[in-house]
């Protein structure tokens, strides 16, 4: 008789409450953005035209690569030095994203696209700002997780490291929709 492997919740169960809660909240933001978009498409097209798609795709590739490093790190926990190097790679890609985002914000502000300039600008700064806050928290979590990866003493430590990695993947996941909605779609 062949046995099917037991199914397991990755990380701590509590992190999934955070993840699904965040996904639900951001989904509401995205649908609200879509509703404003369809009521004034010309204004939103003009706002999108001010964004730099090159920075958008570069940030997408940085976050995807960062997630790759973090996913590989969680699979290499039996080799602490390798796991720590991979977590560091993930953090550096995340820092690269942060630097590019700040450069983009500064350029938009210099062009006159401020928080009060249009509904598109409000959505752009609000959504990317909240995502940026998630990114900063994620970087701090990755730093803690990286330290933990060097001294795993109990199975719970592995679950904590996996939970930190899951939060980082959430940051990537949210950016997938932000990039599509803010930079790419033009109904």
């Amino acid at each position: 008789v062949s046995e099917t492997p037991a199914r397991k919740v990755p990380g701590e169960a509590g992190i999934w409450v955070v993840i699904f809660g965040d996904l639900a909240l951001f989904s509401l933001f995205f649908l609200t953005y879509a509703d404003y978009y369809r009521h004034d498409p010309a204004l939103f097209h003009a706002g999108q035209a001010m964004l730099d798609r090159g920075i958008g795709i570069a940030n997408t590739l940085l976050l995807l690569t960062s997630s790759l490093f973090v996913a590989l790190a969680t699979r290499a926990l039996g080799r602490p030095h390798r796991a720590r190097r991979l977590f560091l790679g993930g953090m550096l890609c995340g820092l690269g994203f942060a630097v590019l985002k700040i450069i983009e914000w500064r350029a938009k502000l210099a062009l006159g696209l401020g928080l009060s300039s249009s509904p598109f600008a409000i959505f752009y700064f609000m959504l990317t700002g909240i995502h940026f806050a998630h990114l900063c928290i994620g970087l701090a979590v990755l730093a803690l997780v990286r330290a933990k990866a060097g001294r795993i003493a109990a199975p719970r430590d592995i679950a904590l490291i996996e939970s930190g990695a899951l939060f980082w993947h959430l940051v990537d996941l949210l950016w997938v929709y932000l990039f599509a909605l803010l930079y790419l779609v033009r109904p």
């Binding site: 989904s27 369809r38 997630s67 699979r75 993947h169 929709y177 790419l184 779609v185 109904p187």
Partner: protein, 85 residues
């Protein structure tokens, strides 16, 4: 645990991102549906391969897949509703 499926998933995610980036300047209506479909495919790949949902309980898989697919579908429909509605 082998790392090859994770690296393949990353390569697929990069390819999907570049394709959707290229398509975004195409025909507007079709491009929106296409870009949001790709977003759903990317979300599912991140969930399955990076977040390890492939080995998670079925209920979690259904919730996650339901979220990714329904969000993309809802956004596509919503963005194409006439402003008068």
């Amino acid at each position: 645990m082998t790392t090859r499926p994770t690296v393949i998933a990353w390569a697929a995610l990069v390819a999907l991102s570049l394709v959707s980036f290229g398509w975004a300047s195409g025909v507007r209506g079709a491009a929106t549906a296409f870009v949001l479909s790709i977003a759903a495919a990317k979300a599912l790949t991140i969930g399955w391969r990076f977040m390890d949902l492939s080995g998670a309980p079925r209920s979690m898989q259904w919730i996650f897949a339901g979220w990714a697919l329904s969000l993309s579908a809802a956004l596509t429909v919503w963005l194409h509703l006439p402003p008068s509605l």
